[in-house]
């Protein structure tokens, strides 16, 4: 799982490599503490984004770390420690999401662009400003975007988070969601289109 997103569990240089893994395998208590300090906050952030409930998110992080520690002997070292932990915690979150009582999935259709009979935009898109930072405080903008992501239909929300924020490749996303690569790709694309629709009123040039 290559992690390209800005908020991933990628390790710092000091904690990657074989030395830390060797200490984990030797059950060195300070190594577990070190891993928790180094990667815990980022993985808790990932878990909070996906699960949106403090208690659930903490439980998923705990499950993930314990599963990782128990399986460290099987860790082959192809990925760095942060990437390996990130994959395990994401899977723990996805299992929790699947086990939640599922509400009926809302349709995303109303948030997709519309076209006239000839296939051209029905409502002409307007350019956004040079970036919402010009018109909004950075934190205000981030909160607005996070709220918009949270209001996406659930499976599209999760697909967008995993692809665009957690940095999974399309194939990794397909594997994590247990869908075809084509389905994963379409789901992310529609989620981005829907998010664009939700942000449009706030982002249009001159509206703020």
């Amino acid at each position: 799982m290559s992690l390209g997103g800005p908020e991933t569990g990628r390790s710092s240089a000091g904690a990657s490599g074989g030395e830390l893994v060797a200490r984990l395998r030797a059950r060195d208590p300070s190594a577990f503490d070190e891993v928790l300090s180094e990667f815990g906050p980022r993985l808790l952030a990932t878990s909070l984004r996906l699960l949106r409930q403090d208690a659930d998110a903490q439980d998923a992080v705990q499950e993930g770390f314990l599963a990782a520690f128990r399986s460290v002997d099987r860790f082959e070292g192809r990925a760095d420690v942060g990437t390996w932990l990130h994959r395990i915690v994401v899977n723990a979150c996805l299992m929790r999401l699947r086990s939640r009582k599922s509400r009926p999935e809302t349709s995303i259709d109303a948030l997709l662009p519309t076209y006239d009979h000839s296939g051209h935009h029905r409502m002409g898109p307007r350019a956004w400003g040079g970036g919402p930072s010009e018109t909004m405080e950075r934190e205000e903008r981030r909160r607005l975007v996070r709220d918009a992501i949270d209001s996406l239909p659930e499976r599209h929300r999760v697909a967008l988070l995993l692809r665009d924020i957690e940095g999974l490749s399309n194939d990794e996303l397909a594997g994590a969601l247990d869908v075809s690569a084509g389905t994963a790709k379409v789901r992310v694309h529609r989620a981005r289109q829907a998010l664009r629709t939700l942000l449009d009123p706030s982002m249009r040039a001159g509206d703020l």
Partner: protein, 136 residues
């Protein structure tokens, strides 16, 4: 008949042949025989037919299907040419594409900022469970 651009009289194109000629047809630089050969292949090949239809009709709806690949830089050159061609005449799609790009960037940026700290109780629970595992 050798499958090479420039000698397309009565040529039966395969998909690669169509892709090799698509740009010249779009740029109106192809011979009538090449245009006929491309049209003939597009008439029976579903995938190339779709590309040809998009290139020919160039509607915003059909272009939207390629938007993610275009933004991610994974659109093949011939489809990118079709996309660019539409963009050159459609300011609405230019505005949409740019705001789509900004949407992806805003989503990525939304996760920046401070990280939560690990609550002491969670840290202790993980380390205690780990110690129990070691004893078992």
């Amino acid at each position: 008949m050798i499958d090479s651009p420039g000698n397309d009289d009565d040529l039966a194109l395969d998909c690669a042949g169509l892709h090799a000629r698509l740009l010249s047809v779009l740029n109106e630089e192809a011979t009538p025989a090449t245009v006929r050969a491309v049209e003939a292949h597009a008439a029976w090949c579903d995938e190339c037919g779709r590309l040809w239809k998009i290139a020919h009709e160039s509607s915003c709806r059909e272009l939207a299907d390629f938007l993610d690949d275009y933004v991610d830089g994974t659109l093949p050159a011939d489809q990118r040419a079709v996309f660019d061609r539409h963009m050159s005449v459609c300011p609405e799609c230019v505005a949409y594409l740019e705001s789509y790009r900004q949407t992806v960037a805003a989503a990525r940026d939304s996760a920046a900022g401070g990280l939560p700290s690990i609550p002491e109780r969670l840290r202790a629970a993980i380390l205690d469970s780990q110690r129990d595992d070691n004893r078992a």
